[in-house]
Amino acid sequence: MDVVIGLEIHVQLLTRTKLFCSCRADYFAAPPNTLTCPVCLGLPGALPVLNKKAVELALRVALALGAEVQEVSQFDRKNYFYPDLPKGYQITQRAVPLARGGALTFRLAGQERTVRVRELHLEEDAGKLIHTERGTLIDFNRCGVPLVEIVTEPDLRSPQEAREFLRALRTLLRHLRVSTADMEKGELRCDANISVSVDGRPGTKTEIKNLNSFKAVERALQAAAEHQRALLSRGERVEQVTFGWDEGREELLLQRTKEEAHDYRYFPDPDLVPLVVDAMWLAQVQAAMPEPPWEREARWIRAFGLNPSEAEALLVDPVRADYFEEVARAVPNPKAAAGWVLAELGQYWTGDEPPLPAADLVALIRAVEEGRITRPQAKEILEKAVLERTSVPVLLSAAGGVVRDEEALRALAEEVLRENPQAVADYRAGRTQALGFLVGQALRKAQGRADPKRLAHVLQTLLSGG
């Protein structure tokens, strides 16, 4: 029995405003219904105007996937009645999508796999519903937020492959800076269809909606494949049905059939003129395109001597990738930098931002490479620098006895000035005794191992803008 899987992926684009109105799109922490206007509430007479940036971000994805951008595309109304959609229709691109074709290549267990893309189009997101006993509560803040929908051909052959494809797509989207693509936050959502075929005869498609984590994608597809296999082996027919997925119980939920509602009566939106993307506009988008992850990977392997698994681990998050790049360029042995970023620093890297400035990691790696400190010493310093928020040059000098190094003294002084804005303001306002306080703070930081006179001198120089 063969498994055939296709995915429909919705990606929230990183624009400041919604797709057709200038309401802010960063709804995540906003109180309900504070980011709406007549356009996104669908009030009579309000007219949509397309967000140029949303088009450009979607074009970026299309170009990176090698899709063929349609010179003229249009917007259509998908009509349905559901309270998450105040207009009674969703604006999408049905007849002519923004782009067609393209493909994404990714690796699964060392093997390269390519999945073709059928089409890519722009559409607006719907509002959020909360079901309570007293009724359904609606927040329209998300309504009208730009989405790009990517539809694949049925080229995936296992649930695991579907999961890895989605991971690769997320990496791409993040590197293109088109989306933060966080599945837990609903910025990347996936619907899947799957059919199990016997002896090469095509099976019947089952659809699974709203898969909101990589694990859910894999498990739900496994469950659906099992379900179909069981039916087929009993000689029964597979019905064309739609499932939801209960992530807690890991169960498929048969969705109630909205047969009659499936007639979406698509027609071109008379409020929106056709979208024309000419060669010049495409060239501009191409010129502003960040380096795609596969090019970065190839360059790192070539120039820095990384192996593919190191490169892949660093590429998961573009912030980490940029950080590594910055460190790798500044140290004598770029390959060693990969280990430092992934393993040593990786254990402290839990949030979005790096736990240590790149310049500090560079100083540390240099000290090890130049034999000034040992590796265990370096790990200790790293821990201290991250947990106690002390600068590496200061710790390095302290490790070697008295802080003499000019660079370290300066780093220490800068840190003290940053942390004591009031004393800095006092000093600048003419209360020179503030300097004494700052020197005291710096001495405490250096644990007494610095010359107060030289510290005072460095602080003074910095305070007078040197």
Partner: protein, 89 residues
């Protein structure tokens, strides 16, 4: 007719249903007339002929205050619009 009612979320009395059926039949007849027009070689749809790319820069503008957004809602609760339960248990 039952399907249209279901789609529109309407509950009609038999009299209303008959009235609407008659009205819709008339409207459909008008549109039937359009079918007779020869559209060979005509672009299927163009809202404003010759116009394309009405675009907006990605600059945030003011949104409605919450009270204003909820003002016309028959029911609201804690800043949310409220409608009858979608799923009856």
């Amino acid at each position: 007719m039952a399907k249209v009612e279901a789609l529109a979320g309407l509950r009609l009395t038999p009299e209303e249903r008959e009235q609407l059926r008659a009205d819709l039949a008339k409207i459909l007849a008008y549109f039937q007339k359009l079918q007779e027009v020869n559209t060979e070689g005509v672009t299927p749809f163009s809202p404003l002929p010759g116009q394309t790319n009405a675009l907006r820069e990605d600059e945030p503008g003011p949104s409605l205050p919450q009270e204003e957004a909820l003002r016309n809602a028959p029911e609201s609760e804690g800043g949310y619009f409220r409608v009858p339960p979608l799923f009856s248990a």
